[in-house]
């Protein structure tokens, strides 16, 4: 025969419908969101990984000055690769962005059509879907570049541009100011062929077995290429951020999302635990009678655990249904908001099921079982006598009678509900951390932009295009290149100050490898105010120092990008510059260290535009817009999410406070009723009970701030280390603390009003119940 106690469950559910509904909604939202995220993440990651084969993504690409000859091609292909032309040219559009235009691809790096159709004739263009989103372009619109016009026929995802990095060295992609597109061959031929970039993709005839072999094969290929052609760039697939960044990033949020789910489930489990303790106290007589009648402890544990577990299970089922349907699209939308991913098919995700259904139920089972087992350890007689203290009776904390009775009353309420308040404190820390993150990012980004603006090395940094061949391969070519380069890049601009630059990278670690720009500065530079003349050390940018926690006197070791050569420098000082990870040293020292020749230089600092240098030698111009690319992209890809994070944080905060203060009022219902009978008004009773919680909430909010700041320091640093090259320092606008506090108080005020209504509705008859 089934236990007749189960008949109580629907009645208990009905009588506490508010509590269970609130918890259920929070569970559905959390589980649904995390499930949606994991399903979207898993499905899209699968589509992304399968895309390498499906869309025949290249194993690497290189760019040369001139189209390679048939014999050069044959010689290169003898190295176990097949080459494919992937020429492109860039047009500056009238909307201020740069469009990289390809011919539609047929052999490698195939294109996924997302909307509309592919271009079929001249004057038509299919553009990257995300670039279109970010710039508000619809199918049918016209893009203009001077007198040239293209009709947008469709949106596409180029498989070798899942992340829109214009240059592989860029610290962040830019899907606002940079886009990719395809046109028909006849349209491509009609474009300005002087701008043509001879980019070739290669595919290994025999795919490398692992990353180590892939590195070796690419290094060998680079050497072989150096013998045949003058390389302008060389990017094997594993180093190509436009291809790999997305895959690396997609996995990285998984742990954070799972942690978010588990923390919320644990908080809810403890809220249930406290509720159960309260129920056991209320039902002590019933429990005593049942135990005395022969019900086992196990049966009662099962009975009291049933509802929390059922609610979790229902939450998990509904959450997962939403996760696989509506919320999956929301989460996929977040990825589509950052990356140019192809279409995907939703796939069953066993991990998601385990993490969002099995684990939450297990957490609920374990936490509640532990609490119930502890609470029900007493003998039936103790329950019948309502003596649930277990050990010796607690003595009252001494409070001075000089303290007013209201103050003492409130302190007693706080002492009585300490376990509730500890859970509340943890809940507040957790909710506030989310809120902190949501409020923080926009202000960090805007501060970063301001900081960069006020600490630019110069208004313009012209990086002259030093051919890759000057750094590797044929020595003669290298010398000639440098000679030509040196003569062709003179300027009459009085603001211009030449500098040398050389690019190295940080040693491999668990985080992203950073490109480090080494600047060789002239003596008495008017742009870099640092004591560099002694040559006994280098200055590093403040961004570098902050990212790698470096200080004066430390040593830094950097390596060549595609080689094993390492360089070690001693840090003489920190130079305030947050725009990049850089090193400053005397120009002579830099040229000498890298064997570049005494007269070598690779760019100009200038506070005015330089107009007398041949455009072909200007590789890039670092101005404010270029330097703020990271913050702009982070703002675009994460900005929309922040509102959702804030709403979620407020939701958690409200639910935890609501449930715990509800328990406090329920626990004290009889005392509240008694005070009413004595003649206390609802206002006075609220001052006793609600104010106690108010005081605790205020203290928790204030105490949680330094804890949250410390945790955020670690989390933000970790996030920046894993997700971006370069560095954005954590800057907390003091007004964020005020906002967090006010949002906390405002949210609590809503709960307090609900609690006031609850106090008002406590009947005086409660005190007349025969309860000891």
């Amino acid at each position: 025969m089934k236990s007749p106690l189960r008949k109580r469950l629907p009645r208990e559910l009905k009588s506490e419908i508010g509590k269970y509904l609130v918890v259920l909604i929070l569970m559905i939202a959390t589980i649904g969101f995390v499930s949606g995220f994991l399903v979207a993440d898993g499905s899209m990651l699968k589509a992304y990984n399968e895309g390498f084969e499906k869309y025949k993504i290249e194993d690497g690409n290189f760019r040369v000055k001139k189209k390679i000859t048939k014999s050069q091609r044959e010689n290169i292909e003898k190295n176990g690769v097949t080459l494919y032309e992937n020429f492109y040219l860039e047009e500056a559009l009238d909307n201020g962005s740069t469009m990289r235009i390809f011919k539609n691809r047929e052999e490698v790096n195939l294109v996924c059509l997302m909307e509309g159709k592919l271009p079929e004739k001249a004057g038509e263009m299919a553009i990257d879907r995300m670039y279109a989103d970010n710039n508000g372009i619809s199918v049918g619109d016209t893009l203009k570049s001077g007198s040239k016009e293209w009709k947008v026929t469709g949106f596409v995802a180029l498989s070798d541009y899942s992340c829109l990095f214009q240059n592989n060295n860029d610290s962040m992609f830019d899907a606002v100011k940079f886009g990719v597109s395809i046109v028909t061959p006849e349209e491509f031929e009609s474009l300005d062929q002087k701008k043509l970039q001879y980019s070739y993709s290669w595919v290994y005839d025999k795919a490398p077995k692992n990353e180590k072999q892939e590195k070796k094969m690419s290094e060998d290929l680079m050497e072989a290429l150096g013998e045949e052609v003058t390389l302008e760039s060389f990017v094997p697939q594993y180093l190509n951020q436009a291809i790999t960044f997305t895959g690396d990033d997609m996995g990285s949020d998984r742990a954070m999302m799972t942690m978010l789910l588990y923390m919320i489930i644990v908080i809810i489990a403890f809220v249930f635990g406290i509720t159960i303790s309260n129920t056991i106290r209320k039902e002590a007589g019933v429990i005593g009678t049942l135990r005395a009648s022969g019900y086992t402890r196990k049966e009662l544990i099962g009975h009291y655990m049933a509802l929390p577990v059922i609610v979790t299970l229902i939450g998990a089922v509904i959450g997962n249904i939403l996760g696989y349907t509506a919320l999956k699209n929301v989460c996929a939308g977040m990825y589509y908001g950052s990356y140019s991913l192809p279409t995907y098919v939703t796939v069953w995700n066993a991990d998601a099921f385990w993490m969002t259904t099995v684990v939450p139920v297990l957490i609920m089972l374990v936490v509640n079982y532990g609490i119930l087992r502890y609470k029900l350890r007493l003998s039936p007689l103790k329950f019948l006598r309502r003596d649930l203290s277990g050990s010796r009776r607690k003595r009252a904390v001494r409070l001075s009678p000089k303290l007013g009775i209201f103050h003492r009353f409130r302190l007693r309420v706080i002492f009585q509900n300490m376990s509730n308040y500890i859970v509340l404190f943890i809940g507040i820390i957790f909710a506030n951390l989310l809120l902190f993150f949501g409020l923080l990012l926009p202000s960090v980004l805007s501060h970063y932009q301001q900081d960069i603006q006020s600490n630019m090395l110069a208004k313009y940094q012209y990086m002259l295009e030093v051919p890759v061949s000057a750094m590797s391969g044929n020595k003669l070519d290298s010398m000639l290149e440098l000679l030509q380069f040196s003569y062709g890049t003179k300027t009459e601009n009085e603001d211009a100050e030449a500098f040398s630059a050389y690019s190295l990278e940080t040693l491999p670690s668990k985080y992203k490898t950073d490109e480090v720009i080494l600047y060789g500065i002239k003596p008495d530079s008017k742009y870099i105010d640092a004591d560099l003349e002694d040559g006994d050390g280098v200055y590093i940018s403040s961004a570098y120092a902050e990212k790698f926690l470096l200080k004066s006197g430390d040593s830094i070791t950097l390596k060549e990008k595609y080689e094993k050569t390492k360089y070690t420098f001693e840090v003489k000082g920190i130079y305030k510059y947050s725009g990049g990870i850089c090193v400053f040293m005397p120009q002579e020292q830099l040229n000498d260290t890298f064997d570049l020749g005494n007269d070598y230089f690779s760019g100009y600092f200038s506070n005015s535009k330089i107009k007398d240098i041949d455009g072909k030698y200007i590789g890039s111009v670092l101005d404010l817009e270029a330097l703020t690319k990271i913050s702009r992209q982070l703002d675009v890809s994460m900005g929309n999410m922040m509102g959702m994070v804030n709403a979620f944080a407020i939701g958690i905060y409200m639910v935890v406070i609501y449930l715990l203060s509800k328990i406090i009022i329920e626990k004290n219902a009889q005392a509240i009723s008694m005070t009413k009978i004595l003649g206390y008004t609802n206002g006075e009773i609220s001052r006793l009970y609600i104010w106690s919680t108010t005081i605790v909430v205020i203290i928790c909010l204030l105490l949680s701030l330094p804890i949250e700041k410390a945790v955020m320091n670690v989390l933000f640093r970790e996030m920046m280390l894993t997700s971006i090259s370069g560095w954005i320092a954590l800057w907390i606008d003091p007004k964020i603390y005020v906002e967090m506090f006010l949002i906390g108080i405002g949210t609590y005020a809503v709960v307090a009003i609900l609690e006031y209504r609850r106090i008002k509705h406590v009947p005086m008859g409660e005190a007349l119940k025969n309860v000891e």
């Binding site: 203290s389 009776r393 009252a396 009353f409 008004t681 005190a767 007349l768």
Partner: protein, 232 residues
């Protein structure tokens, strides 16, 4: 007349399950009088006490205390009425569990403009040395003394006692009754006490016997005994 009850009717439930608990009661009690309401279970004595205490409302009839009519009062006014005029003592003490003995009494003192001295009262009640204990550290008698202290510290006009000795043993019950008698004599409060214990009628000024929601007997005790003389 200090307390005037006229035509009080009260019923619970609806339809077939409707029970008329009070069927039109009239009662008058003088200031300072010690009135005992006697009757079997279900006779309506606790309901009458709750109506006098303003924690339950009558369906019909009126209650006037010191010239103030209860049925005209809003909830807020009723709170003020209880605050100003009433002290309540229950069978199960109803102390606030997380407050010490002293603090429980101070909760009552807060409500009065001219409360009695808490220390002196605790001495009178014989619980001074336990003042820092929580209710669960006290015996039943000590808890009931504390409840009496809480009720009388504000020196109320009327002390309503609902089976104050119902949960206590014989000796403790007698001590509590002695205390209530002392309070009545010392502070001159009007006392209305509901009890099952027939012996208590002998220490009352007025005895009211109820059965089936009606007053069956209402008389003044000409030869009342002191609490210490009671036997049962």
């Amino acid at each position: 007349m200090f307390l005037e009850i006229k035509g009080i009717k009260k019923s619970f439930g609806t339809g077939d399950s409707r029970v008329n608990v009070l069927k039109g009661l009239d009662l008058e009690i003088e200031r300072g009088e010690f009135c005992v309401l006697l009757g079997p279970s279900g006779s309506g004595k606790s309901t009458l006490l709750n109506i006098i205490g303003g924690i339950d409302g009558a369906d019909e009839g009126s209650i006037t205390i010191d010239g103030e009519q209860l049925e005209d009062m809003t909830e807020k006014k009723l709170s003020l009425y209880r605050r100003k005029h009433l002290g309540y003592i229950f069978q199960m003490y109803n102390l606030i569990p997380n407050l010490t003995l002293r603090e429980n009494i101070e909760v009552g003192a807060y409500l009065s403009d001219r409360p009695l001295d808490v220390d002196e009262l605790m001495h009178t009640l014989g619980i001074y040395e336990h003042q820092n204990k929580l209710p669960n550290q006290l015996s039943g008698g000590q808890q009931q003394r504390t409840a009496i202290g809480r009720a009388i510290v504000k020196n109320p006009d009327i002390l309503l006692c609902d089976e104050p000795t119902g949960a206590l043993d014989y000796n403790t019950s007698k001590e509590i009754l002695k205390l209530i008698e002392t309070v009545n004599q010392k502070y001159g409060n009007t006392i209305v006490m509901v009890t099952h214990n027939d012996a208590i009628k002998d220490m009352a000024d007025r005895v009211v016997k109820l059965r089936d929601g009606m007053i069956r007997k209402n008389y003044c005790n000409e030869h009342k005994l002191s609490a210490s003389e009671l036997e049962w």
